[in-house]
Amino acid sequence: MAGTTVRVGPPVPQDIRCTIDGRAVTAASGDTVLTAALLHGHVLRHLEFGGAPRAGFCLMGACQDCWMWTESGARLRACTTPVAEGMRLLTAAPSGWPA
């Protein structure tokens, strides 16, 4: 699935595998979590108040509108966190997490 963002440079080796909401995606070393997620989709998180989709805004670590979840319940700021092999990312809190 084509995502929001698009690579403009020469092709980069897709050497990292991870999942987003259970879906397997590939990424490249040097990608941030945000890059990896928005190359394949349009949403990074859902707002705590009402669930509206969000996909980051400032892209430089200031607005805090790109915090994603991992399946183990950790939270990470997608625009400043490098993507890593085996990451299991979620756009909503893992099930069982208190709202």
């Binding site: 929001t4 698009v6 980069v12 349009h42 509206a52 400032c58 430089m60 607005c63």
Partner: protein, 449 residues
């Protein structure tokens, strides 16, 4: 003497350079993984440097070469967030652990973020800040979309749009919200920095040559879309039209990152030209005992002013500790900073922040992205008996500005809305007070510190 510098953009690098020249080994802390700040952010694909930066590529090379040469003489700590200041101690977090650093001098070169203006639909996926659009292009080699609208009030609209075009991305339109006559009126002051003015004019001309539609004096209405942005609606010739797109870059000038300066004891003073509060500092950036601000984190001046003001702050820190420094170099730097900032004040006039749009926002528009507080909710807090007249009071009553971004992206708009609704001067509404941690950190790390 322990000198800490926060921020490894042009100001922080220049400050570190001057200190190192005088035998002081500063600690240079930076939240980014690579040096350069936003303006000289390291390109993921440096083969694209000349294409992407054009005439500015040489400056990029110079800054990064300067940093590489400086590297052995400084303690450089990338990926490090400075999140609190307590007396002579700076609290930092990085690599999953927290640390407290004592200092004798602190130079804050924290830079700025985009000043953004709330509009219906501004939280839709696909709407990004103008600086963010550039950050993604430079640092990640990615465009924010395939068909992008650049809108707002900033000379960077043209420069960023041209960078996108040069990298092969379709720019659907540049929608400049300021009318041409404002730019002409500001022209005399813009001549203070003719080279930068010329660069802006060239970018505009290059976009026109490539057929990119440019509109001036546009009244933006809405970012259109349901689950993601699909267009930008604006008024032209008495009617509202929508330009289709799959991404938007929007910005209305810059907003200094003043949180650490405030926590360190700087006084914030209202600046009528930019309609925001800035750290009160002398010509060298001195804000309080042992505290200096440099670059756009102190006063918006652009990349060149940042370099000069970083060097000035370092000279001041040295002189204040009794080190003999070159008086002529300092005088020249002061003149340089003044000239560049005069140009920026001209730009602030030419690309005015349309504060009156905020007063006219529909009640349902989200003002606070983090806490989902609407313009109507804040207005209601102003209208009630003993209503809100001050922005921190508004925050307490409505939670507007209380979210994870700490009001970075709603604070100015919230103040404008309160001033308009209460019919009082903006200066009296105040600014959202900075709180530690200035950005989210894990609670476990605070305990560890």
């Amino acid at each position: 003497m322990t000198v800490l510098i926060v921020g490894a953009g042009p100001a922080g690098i220049a400050a570190a350079g001057v200190l190192a020249q005088h035998g002081v080994r500063p600690v240079l802390l930076d939240e980014n993984a690579t040096p350069g700040g936003q303006v000289w952010r390291r390109l993921r694909d440096e083969a694209a440097l000349d294409t992407l930066l054009g005439g500015e590529a040489a400056h990029y090379r110079r800054i990064h070469a300067q940093f590489a040469a400086l590297r052995p003489d400084i303690e450089y700590r990338p990926g490090t967030l400075a999140w609190a200041i307590d007396g002579g101690t700076l609290h930092i977090a990085g690599d999953g652990r927290a640390e407290a650093l004592r200092f004798t001098r602190l130079i804050l070169a924290t830079g700025a973020t985009d000043r953004t203006l709330p509009l219906p639909g501004w939280t839709l996926p696909g709407v990004f800040t103008l600086g963010g659009a550039q950050a993604l292009l430079k640092g990640q080699g990615c465009a924010i979309g395939r068909r992008v609208v650049f809108c707002g009030a900033s000379p960077l609209l043209y420069i960023a749009a041209l960078q996108y075009v040069r990298m092969g991305v379709t720019v659907a339109a540049v929608l400049d919200t300021t009318p041409l006559h404002r730019k002409l009126m500001a022209a005399p002051r813009l001549l203070a920095d003719a080279r930068t003015l010329w660069r802006g004019v060239q970018a505009m001309a290059a976009l026109r040559r490539r057929g990119v539609p440019i509109r001036s004096g546009v009244r933006l209405r809405q970012f259109v879309g349901e689950q993601r942005v699909q267009g930008v609606a604006f008024d032209t010739g008495g009617q509202t039209v929508t330009i289709g797109c799959d991404a938007v870059a929007t910005g209305f000038g810059l907003k200094p990152e003043t949180q650490l300066a405030e926590l360190a004891g700087a006084t914030l003073r209202f600046d009528p030209a930019s309609r925001q509060f800035l750290p009160a500092a002398d010509a060298d950036g001195r804000c309080a005992d042992a505290l200096y601000v440099a670059g756009d984190g102190g006063a918006i001046g652009g990349a060149d002013a940042a370099e000069a003001s970083g060097a000035l702050a370092a000279y001041a820190a040295l002189a204040d500790t009794g080190v003999a420094v070159d008086a002529r170099a300092r005088a020249a730097l002061r003149r340089e900073v003044q000239r560049r900032r005069r140009f920026q004040r001209g730009l602030a006039d030419a690309f005015a922040w349309p504060a009156h749009w905020i007063a006219a926002l529909p009640d349902a528009t989200l003002l606070c992205r983090c806490e989902a507080i609407t313009a109507g909710e804040l207005r209601e807090a102003v209208r009630r008996d003993l209503g809100v007249r001050e922005v921190n009071r508004g925050k307490a009553l409505t939670r507007c500005g209380m979210g994870r971004c700490q009001g970075r992206f709603c604070g100015l708009a919230a103040a404008e809305l309160i001033a308009a609704e209460a019919s009082i001067p903006l200066a009296g509404v105040g600014h959202l007070r900075a709180q530690a941690p200035v950005k989210p950190i894990a609670r476990g790390m605070v305990g560890a510190a």
